[in-house]
Each structure stands twice: as C-alpha cells, then as structure tokens.
C-alpha cells in the first residue's frame, strides 16, 4: 500500500507543487480545494496523512484540524499544516488545535518528504 496523502489547499499552484513532489516520491496524492471539501473527502480517501493550508475559504485549516480530531476515528491521523510564516505562535496555535507538525512555504522536496517521514514513517 502506498502512503495516501490528502492535501487541502485553495491554491492551485501549491496543489500542483505538492502533487508533483509527492507523486514523484511515490505517494498516493489526493487533494481538496478548501477545508470543507477536505473534511468531506476525508472518509472516502481515508488518507495516512493530511496536509492542510491555514487560510482557506469555507473552512480554514484550524477548522479542518478541529473537525478531524473531533471525530473519534480520525483522531490519530497525522495532520501537517502549511504556513507561510515560521511564526512560533502560529505553530503553537496549530498544535493547540491538534496539528501534528508543519511545513513552511516555500518548501523544497526534501523538507516536505522529511516532514512526512516523521509523521507517517514513509520515506521517499
């Protein structure tokens, strides 16, 4: 089984970047264009890890984390948040909501894969 990634980001550019890197590295890539869609797609995709943007329409990244953590079955899925700032308080807030880790945009392939490895054990 490939490691399944559900990426949630409203930016097509970021989605394409993630898709390119992850598919290249052998992950199974799924994506949603906003938080609401991401949460809705979650049960169908049943990913091994979720990567979510913070600023999104309909439901933001914090909302995504809260909703996924709120339902028992999803409580343990690793969730990585994508942030543009390396601001500590943003990370603290994401973690407070239940995020597993974070990826700072702009990311390079290696750091993305390294982050995924630390939360899923999967390596490129």
């Amino acid at each position: 089984m490939k490691t399944k990634v559900l990426a949630i980001d409203d930016s097509r550019t970021i989605r394409n970047l993630l898709a390119a890197t992850l598919e290249e590295a052998g992950f199974e890539y799924h994506c949603a264009v906003d938080g609401r869609e991401g949460v809705d797609m979650y049960p169908d995709v049943d990913p091994d890890v979720v990567i979510t943007d913070i600023n999104m329409p309909n439901l933001d990244g914090f909302g995504v984390i809260e909703e996924l953590r709120g339902t028992g079955i999803n409580s343990k899925v690793p969730i990585l948040v994508l942030t543009t700032e390396s601001a500590p308080e943003l990370k603290a807030r994401a973690r407070g909501a239940g995020a597993t880790g974070w990826i700072t945009k702009p990311f390079d392939d290696a750091s993305l894969i390294f982050a995924l490895k630390r939360v899923t054990g999967a390596a490129a």
Binding site: T84, A99, K117, A123
Partner: protein
Amino acid sequence: MSGSIQDTFFEECEELLEATDEGLTAIEGGDHDPEVVNAIFRAVHSIKGGAGAFGLDDLVAFAHRFETVFDEVRSNRLDLDPKLIQLLLRSSDHLSALVEVARDGGEVDEAHHDTLLAALDEYIPEEEEDLTFEPMGLGGPAAAPEVIVPQEETYRIRFHPLKEMYGTGNEPFFLFQALKDMGELTVTLDENELPGFDSMDVSDSYLAWDLVLVTKEPRSIVEAVFEFVEGLCELSIDGDGDAEAEANALAALDAMFSAPPVEAALPDPAPDTAADSASAPFEPPAPAPEPEAKPAAAEDKASAPKAESGKQEQRSGPKPTLRVELERVDRLINAVGELIINHSMLAQQIANLNVSDTRDVETELEGFKNLARDIQEGVMAIRAQPVKPLFQRMARIVREASAATEKTCKLVNEGENTEVDKTVIERLSDPLTHILRNAVDHGIEKPEDREAAGKSRIGEIRLSASHRSGSVCIEIKDDGAGVNRPRVKQIAIEKGLIPENAELTDAEIDNLLFAPGFSTAKEVSNLSGRGVGMDVVKNAVTGLGGRINISSTPGKGSTFTIILPLTLAVMDGMVVSVADQTMVVPITSIVETMRGSDDMINSLGADGTLLSIRGNFVPICDVAGGLGLYRESDQQAGVYLLVETETGQRCALAVDDIHDQRQVVIKSLDGVCGEIPGVAAATILGDGKIAMILDPESIIAASPTAAAFDTERRMSNAS
C-alpha cells in the same frame, strides 16, 4: 519545478488578482463584509505562497506587506477609511504590475514600489513589522550546510512523550523510523513508570524510550526529527562530549516553544498506542517491518497513480474545467467552418444532379446541417469568456486617469458575466481604455465644477455589457458634461473636416469625434490622447465587425454604445450578385430589400439618383460602380438593399440580384491583400468559389451621390 507549474501559478495569479480587485471594488462601494476582507486576504496570501515557491522575492515581500495590512483590517485593528482604500487599490494595481514583471520580464517602478511599501508600513504596528517573512528550512537533510566532512557520532537520546503528544497525531514509532534512516539505532523501552493496572490513567503517558543513534548526520538534523514534538515531550539528546552545546540548543528550542502548554481537552489521547507499545516492546533495531516495506511498495507503483490523482484534482474543483491550448480550439473552429462550407457544396451538388426525388437526401442533409451548426455553436462557446476580467482591468484605468487629472470618478460595472468571444475581448481592451480615459479626461468635470452644477463630487462611469438580439452590446455611460458641441464643431472647421457654413445636427456633431484627423487630445491633455483619436477606436470596433455610436446630453453626460457580433468566425449574410460576381452583405446592416421599378427612381443632378420609398427619398448607391467593377452582361442593378449607417443615414445599395440568406464563414483578407475600400472580408461559397463580404458603411462613404445628398439633407435640416 517544471515550467508548467509556474504557468499554473501565473494563471492562478490572474484569478487571484481579479478576486482582489473585485473585493476592493466592493469595499470601495461601501461593502465592508468581513468575508470580502477575508477573501482578499486569502488571495494575496496565495499569491505570496506561490511566489515564494518560485523565489519571486519582490513579489513575496510586497504581497506580505499588503497581506499584513489586510490582516490588521481583518482583526478590526484598522478602519477602512477612504485613504486606506485608495492605498489598497493602488497596492493591488502594483501587485498586478509585479506579477506581470515576474512573468514577462521588464522593470518595476522602484520609486513607486518604495512609496507604496512605506505607505503600507504606516498601517503596520511595530511588532508585526518585525515578524518578517523568512522561509525557514525544516532542517531536512537538504538544510545542513554546516557539515562539510561528515563524521560519525553517537547520540544518546532520552525521549519521554507527554500525554499531550498523542493528541497531535505524532507517533514515537515514526520518529524512530526517521532516526533509523540516518544510521544505526538502538531502541530500549523504559516502562518503569508504568503504574499498576488499577491506578493507570488511560489518558496519561507512562512510556519513555532510550535511544542510541550512531550517525553521520549533524546534530541539527537529529534535533529536527523531534521538531514537531518539542514541548510535547521530555527530550534530551547527548552527543559525544557536547553536553554544553546541547544545553544551549535545548534552551533555545524551549524559548522557541514558550507557547502555553496544550490543554487537556484533547479527544482520545491514544492510550492504545501506549498499551500496544508496552505489550510489544521495541527490540533493536526494532521498528516493525511494515513501515519499512512501504517505501519499496510505493516505488513499485510510482508511475501508476498519475492518472488517478489527476482525476482527483479535476473532480475536486467546484466546477471541473479543462485547460487547452487556444490553437487546438482554433483548429477545431476552422474545421467546423470547413464542414459548413462542405455542407453547402454537397447541397449544391445534389441540386445539380437532376434527380427527380431528392426528398430523402434533403432530410438527411438537413440533419447534417443541424449537427454541423450544433458542433459549431459548441466550439464557439469554448472561446466565449465573460467580460469580467476586462471590465476589472478598466477599473484600474479609471483610477489612474482620475489620479492624473485630479478628478474623482468611480467605475460601475454591469453585466460582467456576459460572454464574448476571446478575441473580441482581447481587441476591445484598447478601445475601451481609450474611451474610458476620454470619459474621465473630457467627460467628467472637476469636483468643484460638479458641485456647482448640483452633481455629486464623484463622477460616475457606467460600463455595461449585455446580449441584444444576437449581438453583444457594450455601453460606456458617464454623467459628465456631455460633448462640448460648439467646441467640437469649431475644431472640425479648423481642421477642414467640415465647411465653415456647415449646418449639422447634434448627432452629426457628436459623430465628428470619430472622424479621422479629429482629436481634441492635443490641446486638452496628454492623458486620453496619446496621439490617437476616437477614429482609431472606431476602426478597432469596425475591425471586429461591430459599430459604435455616441449620444450625448449637455450637462448630463455621454454614452458610447458598441455593438459587436457574437462571434468573429461566422455571420449571417445576404448573398447577392454584383457585376457577375457573387457577394455577401451582412444581414445586420440591411433594413429591408426591394425590387425597384423605373417610377421609383428619380434623378438628382447630373448622375445622382434617389429611390423613393413610401414618399421618402433615399440616395441610391451603385455597388458595382463603388467597387470599380463593370458589368459584362447587360443586366441592370434592379434590386435595392436599404441599409442604415451609424449616423442614421439611409441609403439604397443597388445590386443586380438577391439570392438567399445564409450563414457564411468569415475568411480574413489580412495578409492576402491590403485594405480594400468597400470590402470587409471574404467567404467561401457552396461551389468552392470565394465571395467578397461587403462593408456597406464604407461603400456609402465613398459614394458621391450619398455624400452629396447627405450634405443637402443637412442644409434642409438647418433651414
């Protein structure tokens, strides 16, 4: 990072910039809905995020500043006063400019850039300003520049997760896995803290691990593995003889995560993990084989999932779209055009067969025709796009023009979702820009003059688009002073466009604006003029097969109306014969057709003739003569097409015969020959022959009878 992703970025930027513009326009219009503000924040934020990925530092820096101000607005720490709104609008324009420079190259207006940055900074509180945007590496293997000669080192790691860690989805197991990839790892479970079964709190964390890692990776990488769990665990990392350095590093990390500890309202703190680990303790080099197998399995299928995930990407969009090269669509459009021509050829061949009963074939042929039309409409629809982006760009033009002329104007857009052929939209940009600059420059009065005239200080320009009986109608309406007719007339006389004693109707004076050589630009300002007059606008519109009208009321304002065909590729035409040639006249210009008799024709002067239609006299314009063609047969031009020009002038085009009305595929004569007076384009008829598509407007303009009669009419109007 392939170019195609960068293309995606620029495409997305266009959309995001539109969204920003749209939001700001709404805010300018008084809509301060938090969601509008949020949407702009997100759009700018996304531009920043994408720009960062491609190392577009100028863009990132500016977007960041812009976004930070919006964050202040979003958090209600800043009021959206008019001054700030103007700054945001200008910043949005500048952001567009930066995107353009990033995409197409060119120079950024440094001074303008710095002015805006400084202006934005004034709205950003001190401490926020310090929060500079600096991409921080994740400490992945790629981010280890400090190591030059990798040397093996042994780290002793004590790792004791707090219960909070399990609420974040972090698994010790995976962390160990990551460590193991770096070198040789020994894991020992310390379950000494496990209380007796009775006193065990399932939500607490009792397990700790002692790890020994021998690796060539530098300390920073080892620490980076625990980045996500810092503050969620007790962690110590002892390198060989670097106790001091380690203490410092940990202190620094602690400082970094001085955030309040995570509260215990975490659902399901994963007691099962603890239990599982306890019952199946790690054996060095422990981690279960399953996760190890993952990468291998993943590699096997590495190439397989592309199609699937591509599908996913499409499915996940709110409205699935497909991006195709324009050239492919155009090829399809050409092919469908040929198909339609092919149909008429086939129909003609069948008619020539002399078969008595062709009803069955004709039924099928009719079906063929309908299908071809369906395909054609479908293909044309692909090229159709809403005018919204075009209109939004115009808001910027009006802002710039207002700033340059020290006037205050707002642009109100209507019917933005009206869809028009892509080429039409592209070619409308310049004419619209010119008309709008003109409207701000010459139409809208200075604020104090407006006030004196009892109008609002802010001038309003309304830009609207709508579909009107098979055409697209674009209207530009300002509430300014209207055309200064005495001045226009005087200029026209000075420039020799009309005789000094000419008596013109108001409409005729207004239409002088479109006359070649008439440009009031020079003496008024350098803004709208730029060396071209409204005649260029008119040419651009007629070049698209459209027409433009102006109407104006002194003191109330002017309205420009542009009527355009829905598509550039086909049109409805009347097929006629002129001097043994088959030609096509656009249906849109024909008011009525009639066969003339001798008693309807009246002479005027030496060779002018007028056609009397129900008591009205209309000049006759011989098409063959106008085109410089001579009849070889003795057929006379006995059929008249009554046409009306933009100025409302009517004229009867005399042709030899009328055949039928049909849709024809327009073939441009660009590159085939130069401009031919009286001819707009060509088409290919059913028999494979080429026919000229006529331009009645220019035929009439060149006709001496029509011109003479027109002058006479003006005179009689005046008296």
